[in-house]
Symmetry: C2
Subunit: 398 residues, 2 copies
Amino acid sequence: MKETGKLQTAKRMRDIQPFHVMALLARARELEAQGRSIIHMEIGEPDFVTPDPILEAGKQAFNDGHTHYTPALGLPQLREAIAYYYEQHYQLTIASQRIVITPGASGALLLVLGVLINPGEQVLMADPGYPCNRNFVRFMDGDAVGIPVDASTDYQLSKELIEQHWTDKTRAVILASPSNPTGTLVDKKSLQEINEFIQQKNACLIVDEIYHGLIYEDKPESALALSNNKSNNKPNNIFVINSFSKYFNMTGWRLGWLVAPPAIIDDLDKLAQNIFLAAPTPAQYAALAAFKEETITILDQRCQEFKQRRDFLLPALRDIGFNISSTPQGAFYLYAECSQFTNDSYQFAIKLLEEKGVAITPGIDFGKNKANTHVRFAYTTSMVNLREGVERLKSFVS
Amino acid sequence: MKETGKLQTAKRMRDIQPFHVMALLARARELEAQGRSIIHMEIGEPDFVTPDPILEAGKQAFNDGHTHYTPALGLPQLREAIAYYYEQHYQLTIASQRIVITPGASGALLLVLGVLINPGEQVLMADPGYPCNRNFVRFMDGDAVGIPVDASTDYQLSKELIEQHWTDKTRAVILASPSNPTGTLVDKKSLQEINEFIQQKNACLIVDEIYHGLIYEDKPESALALSNNKSNNKPNNIFVINSFSKYFNMTGWRLGWLVAPPAIIDDLDKLAQNIFLAAPTPAQYAALAAFKEETITILDQRCQEFKQRRDFLLPALRDIGFNISSTPQGAFYLYAECSQFTNDSYQFAIKLLEEKGVAITPGIDFGKNKANTHVRFAYTTSMVNLREGVERLKSFVS
């Protein structure tokens, strides 16, 4: 046990790392307070304010006095609205009873891992990957196994990689499509192979689809298409996590959802009752307006804006000398190899911030795999800022 | 491992029970849908809508575009407002840096136990007590030790009881003052003795003060008065949990706070970053108005209304034959011994609901200690409803 002053903390705290980008963000804010101009390409949330129709629905919820707890699984009408969204946008029939409203995708991950993972059991995931995933597993005293991935598999796990790392302690695999930090998708055929392998092992597939609304070319397909095992027509052990944060521009509201196999809903309900009580009520009422046509129109315009930013930033960074082998199909990130400039991504990011006022995220926040020679650029700022950022980057590396 | 359909859940799920009151509440809603009149005395949240000044501040936050993440520890101005509240209402100087804004008191408990408890370590708590407490400990794979308490200690733990149950695996003690389900307080002298004992053991005292604003006679004193060890002037290992839910009538917003020793704040920060990202932003901005004089005036009127309800319901229940030995000083609950009527509190509650349309909570939701001969009445409904409820109860037991 670690000593913190007089106080001993649990062993898990030794393994859970803070995000290094937070120190960079704090320093960026300091510099801004001193009057420096900072280009923020480190922030993992849309720069857009929540669309008006959602804000108006939030205000109406206040006027209607909706300030009490909702059921632990969420407002029935929101669960139904999400089911209808799958019907409309994915041509998938998902019973609303399978949909659990959660406090952000974070809440969904905590529920799933809390219900599934015993201390010492393993969860496989890609490295690089979203840092919270491994920390959630560690929080439940499980063992997060990061599998190194590279451009050869679009920075995604493959059936072969999963098979190589499988042990008798493996309980689940987490995929993210699009991925943070790479913005790449899991290929449809690969997803099928992975799922088949996992279901044969009677383990669980957890798919993070929180950036699903932000896919720029392909029409996205949800892993929920594989909900049922075709050989015996029984539900597969698939959990899909989604969120109102990214595509719906509702980060601060803390609202997400989880689609789970029917047999596990009662367990998720009792765990949610105990650890959350329920997701925030104002957010749930506001989110009912997220699926309105006028909202989707706004969101799709913003999605186009993100695409435009990607289409500018990707070639610009390549021109400067960053190596980005896969063209990211979604999310708002570019994961760039920078070994031609540094072998210490954190120092590179610090120096770039101090000297040029450009904030980016060092690779070490996303795992151990070549983390010191990668950085993440988020295009969550305007084209004007991105152009200025690129100019500063050019002068930094030249 | 338990089989759920094809899917095996983690062992902890066997030990985490759903709230029995939820089944009662669902049945009550069903009966209401059939046109039956139901008196709700089972619900653990104020019947009042959030006060207008807080709702207005929420709307203003939307107008101002505050829809992004806040820092993981919370909005600095809200942390300062809470520090000032301790200054004003408790004459306590608490550095705002020690205050962590959380998604409800639930979030605070999850953070504290996540930071402190290793698998297999014990946390002591009163039985009867708030059911989530033991389930949070179990969630972290710790061992929740319920210590039977009765009227002789006002249903609170004492130093003697804690000493009797202490083992070398004990890491923390949870107190709740006022307690749910009993509404009783921890006596000041007893709190000092308990704290001294725990600090000598280098363990942690966790005090749930979420019903603190709802204390009807005594001026409440916070356990934070014991923040510092007077012998060496070092911080004691005390964690105080509070919430905007109960006194501030903000249940659905999911907003609470935690006051922690300075040395542990960085750990809480990194854990909050990972498992929540942050508490809901609209709620945090709205809560800035919770401390305004006009809000406090509304809340204090509502507090008087709760007192009036208690002063009606307590003697009325005693008249009927329920045994309530301690006069509850706070919260909005009466915990009543009902052995003269039943030795199966759940069946008693079901029958009362079906036959008379009165919903109450069976003792089995609060632990194992004489749980079958106790029920909880919540006075979270109007005087008119309470009077009607009492008439129905009279006819039920006669």
